[in-house]
Amino acid sequence: MVQVHPRPKNLARAEKRRSRPFLWRGQHGGEEQRSITCYAPTCLHYHTLISLLFVLGTWSPNYITKFKGGRKMGIPQDYESASMDDTKVTVPFPAPTKQAVGEINGVKTDVMSIFFADKIMITVTQNGRLAQWVYLFRSLIKAIIC
């Protein structure tokens, strides 16, 4: 960023300006000589330069081929390799959930079921209470099949 300014007539003020964060060049010329003021690069300039480099970098052909296919940065989207691995189990998320409402003996009853990967949770609620939990083990459910 180069700007052209007339040479300051008051040298004392010019000497004060030297303490400011920019450079004076050509101050010792003649009275009619116009000096060229060159500002020292500030943080803003570095920021602009880095932004420019970043924009140029994103438009490079290498970057375009790397992120081809509409993929977004920062989000791992390589699901193909995860599904190919047999040791991993894909669990649907969120768990399948169903709800039903009915009136039993004049009381509103909410029934909800959540099918987790290892459990089936069913809740039967009247008046918003949920006080009793009953557990039925997996092997005992399977016993009826065998």
């Binding site: 039993i104 089936i120 039967v124 918003g128 009793q132 009953v134 557990y135 039925l136 459910i141 065998c146």
Partner: protein
């Protein structure tokens, strides 16, 4: 002759007493539900285990390959051993299975 268990009437399907289609809606005696929390008396505990057995039977009838554990949360206002109330609640549960 296959011997699947010490007590053949308990787990051997060849000696299953309740095999007819009419009685298939009854909860199986093999299920042993356990109360985790909040039994609230023997009456309530029995009712909760009966519900759990009935729901587990319904699940096993619908999907025989089911191997997941069943967790049943109950919050009944009154622990009534009434046939109509029992069937209505089971009907509601069958809607969400």
């Amino acid at each position: 002759m296959p011997l699947l268990s010490d007590n053949p009437t308990q787990s051997d399907p060849y000696f299953q007493t309740i095999r007819s289609e009419d009685d298939a809606l009854l909860p199986s005696a093999r299920f042993q539900p356990r109360t985790l929390l909040g039994a609230g008396g023997s009456n309530r505990e029995t009712l909760g285990q009966l519900y759990a057995s009935q729901i587990a039977t319904a699940i096993a009838t619908k999907s025989p390959e089911e191997s997941r554990t069943l967790m049943l949360g109950l919050g009944l206002a009154k622990a009534e051993m009434d046939r109509d109330i029992f069937l209505q609640i089971i009907n509601l549960v069958l809607k969400v299975l």
